[in-house]
Amino acid sequence: MRRYFSRKLLIYLITFFLAVTIDWLIPRLMPGDPIQNMLSRAALNANAAETMHTYYTHAFQLDLPVWQQYLSFWNALFHGDLGISTYLFPTPVAKVIKDAVPYDIFLLLPSILLSWWAGNKFGAFAARTKRLDNTVLPIAYLLTATPYMWLGILLAWVFGIILGWFPIAGAYSFTMGTQLTWVFVGSVLKHWFLPFASLFLVGFGGWAIGMRNMIIYELEADYSHYLEALGAPRRLIRRYAFRNAILPQLSGLALQLGVIVAGALVTEVVFSYPGIGYLILSAIQNQDYFLVQGCFLFIIIGVLLANFLIDIAYVIVDPRTRKGMVGE
C-alpha cells in the first residue's frame, strides 16, 4: 500500500511541478512582447496603460535573469499570489478564483457522483437484457457523444425559453442579493438545475455504456461460468460481476475528470453560471492572461486532488492494493 501511494504521489508531484513550469513558460515562449500585446488589446486609457505596463514588467520580472524569474514565480505561488486581474482590476486573481469556486463545487460534485452512481447501476442492469440493450443503450451512446455545451443549449432552449420552467442565466435571480431566505435558496436551486442536468446526462450515458461492456466481460470470465456450472442463481453471479467491474469504472472516473471539468467549463458558459468556466471565457475575451493562468493552475490542482481522493477510494474497495499485490 505504501508503494502504491508513494508511486502515485510521485506522479502527482512531478505533474504539479510541470504544470507550474508550463504556466510560467508559456507566456515567455510565445512570439512578441506579451505585455505590449496585452495592453494594446485591452484598450485602456493612457494613464491606466502606463500603470499597467510598469505593473506587468515588474510582475513578469523580465529584467531579471531567467532562473531568478522562475524562482520568484514559485515564491509568489506559495504566497498565494497569482497576479492581479486586468479585467476585474484591481482584484487579485486568487480572490477572483476563490469567489467562483463554490459554484463549481456546487455544480460538479453532485453531477459527477450522481451520474457515476446512476450510470453504473443502470449499465449493470441493462447488460445482457436484450430489450434494454436495444432501446435505451443507443440513447446512452448518443448522450455520451453529445458535446456538453450543445446539450446545455438544447435544455436551455426547451426548458428555459419554450416552456419557461427554468431561468437560463446566472446563479440566482438578478433582482436578489445573497441572503439566507427560502426564496433565495429556491432561486439558487432553480438556476442550478439545468446546468446540473446537462452535466449529469452526458456523464450518465458514458458510465452506463462503460458498465454494460465491463459486466459483459465479467459475465464471460471463467469464474462466472464456473458459478453458473455450480448452479448459482443469476443474481449472485451478477453481484460478483458488478463488484469486479466497478474497479475499472473507478479508475475510469479518475481518467475522465479532465474531460468532465472541460464539460463543466462550457456548460457554465452556456448558462452564464459564475464558476471558473465563465471566468475563463471572460478572461479570454478580455485578454486577461493572469486570470487564464490562474484558472489553469487551479484546475490542475483540483484535478490532482480529486485523483488522490479516488486513489484512496480505490484502496478501500480493492483489497489487492492494500496487500501490495498490484504495483500501480
Binding site: 506522479i11 502527482y12 512531478i14 505533474t15 510541470l18 504544470a19 508550463i22 508559456i26 507566456p27 510565445m30 512570439p31 512578441g32 506579451p34 500585446n37 436484450k130 451512446y141 448518443l142 455520451t144 457523444a145 453529445t146 458535446p147 456538453y148 455545451m149 450543445w150 446539450l151 443549449i153 438544447l154 436551455a156 432552449w157 428555459g160 425559453i161 419554450i162 437560463i168 455504456i209 461492456n213 459483459i216 466481460y217 464471460e220 481518467l255 479532465g258 474531460v259 471539468v261 472541460a262 464539460g263 467549463l265 462550457v266 458558459v269 452556456v270 468556466g277 475563463i280 471565457l281 479570454i284 492572461y289 487564464v292 484558472c295 489553469f296 484546475i299 490542475i300 484535478v303 490532482l304
Partner: protein
C-alpha cells in the same frame, strides 16, 4: 507464419462484420456525413461568411437550414464545419494513435528502465487535464489554424491509447512466435511491426476510432469558448456565435441545432461502430 489460417480468420471477421448491425448502422451514419461534407459546399452558392440573405430567416427552399442573425447561410457554414470536424478527427485522432502506438510498443516490448520512464511520462500526461493545457496554449497563440489545433489535440490525447497498447504488447511479447522471431535474429522494430502489431490490429483500429471521436469533441469544446481556429469555420464556432448573438432568446433554433446534432451523431456513430467491432473481433461478446 502460415498464411492459410490467417485468411480464413479474416473471412470469418468479414462474415461477422457484415452481420453486425451496430457496425453497419454506425458506418452508414459516418458515410452519410462524409458524403455531405464532400459535396455539401457544391450544393450552395453562398460563402459561409457572406451576408447572403435576410436576418434570422427560418429554413426555406432557398436557405435549407435558415440564416443566422447576420443573414449568413447556416447550411453553407454547416458543411464547411463538417469538413473541419472530420479533419480534426483524422489529424488529431491519427496523431494521438501513432504516438500512443510508438510509446506503447516501445514501453511494452523493451521493458526495464525505458518502460519505467515512458510509464511515468504516460501517467503524467494522463493525469493533467489536457483541456486546461490546450486552453492556456491556445490563449497565448494569436493566430491559430485548424491544423495547429488538430496537432495540439493529438499531442495531448495519446496516453490512454499508449497504456492499452503497452498492456497488449506486454502479453504478446512472451508468445512463442515472438520468441522464434527473436531467435532468428530479427530486429526489434521489425518484430514489433511484423509480428506484434498485426496480432493486435483490431485493438489499434478501435483505439483510432475512439481517438477520432475524442478529438472531435475536444475541438468543439475549444472552439466553443473562442479558442478555435482564428481562420476558417467549424461546428463549435457556429455554436459559439449562436450563443453569443442570442440565438436562444431569439428562438432561432436552426442556428444551433444542426452543428451539435451533427457532432453527436458522428461521435455517437463512431462509439457504436466500436462496440460492433469489439463484438466482431471478440467472439465472447457476440449476442447469444
Amino acid at each position: 507464419m502460415a498464411q492459410n489460417p490467417d485468411e480464413k480468420k479474416r473471412n470469418e471477421f468479414l462474415y461477422f462484420a457484415m452481420r453486425n448491425n451496430k457496425l453497419k448502422i454506425g458506418a452508414a451514419i459516418i458515410l452519410f456525413f462524409l458524403v455531405l461534407a464532400a459535396i455539401g459546399p457544391l450544393l450552395t452558392d453562398n460563402e459561409p461568411t457572406a451576408f447572403a440573405g435576410p436576418m434570422s430567416d427560418p429554413p426555406s427552399a432557398e436557405f435549407w437550414f435558415g440564416t443566422t442573425f447576420f443573414g449568413q447561410d447556416v447550411f453553407a457554414q454547416f458543411v464547411v464545419g463538417l469538413r473541419a470536424t472530420f479533419l480534426v478527427g483524422a489529424i488529431g485522432g491519427g496523431l494521438a494513435t501513432v504516438i500512443g502506438m510508438l510509446v506503447g510498443f516501445i514501453a511494452g516490448y523493451r521493458g526495464g528502465i525505458i518502460d519505467e520512464a515512458l510509464n511515468v511520462l504516460t501517467n503524467i500526461v494522463l493525469v493533467i487535464p489536457t483541456f486546461a493545457l490546450l486552453l492556456i496554449i491556445a490563449a497565448y497563440l494569436e493566430v491559430r489554424g485548424l491544423f495547429m489545433e488538430s496537432v495540439l489535440i493529438g499531442l495531448t490525447a495519446w496516453p490512454w491509447a499508449a497504456r492499452a497498447i503497452r498492456a497488449q504488447t506486454l502479453s504478446l511479447r512472451s508468445r512463442e512466435f515472438v520468441d522464434l522471431a527473436r531467435m532468428s535474429a530479427m530486429k526489434p522494430l521489425r518484430i514489433i511491426f511484423t509480428e506484434i502489431a498485426p496480432n493486435m490490429m483490431s485493438y489499434l483500429v478501435m483505439a483510432f476510432i475512439l481517438q477520432f471521436g475524442g478529438a472531435i469533441l475536444i475541438a468543439a469544446t475549444l472552439d466553443f469558448i473562442g479558442l478555435g481556429p482564428t481562420t476558417g469555420f467549424s461546428l463549435g464556432i457556429m455554436m459559439q456565435y449562436a450563443v453569443l448573438w442570442g440565438a436562444l432568446p431569439l428562438g432561432t433554433w436552426w442556428w444551433f441545432v444542426p452543428p451539435g446534432a451533427a457532432i453527436a451523431a458522428i461521435v455517437g456513430a463512431l462509439y457504436f461502430m466500436n462496440v460492433g467491432l469489439d463484438e466482431v473481433f471478440n467472439p465472447k461478446l457476440r449476442e447469444t
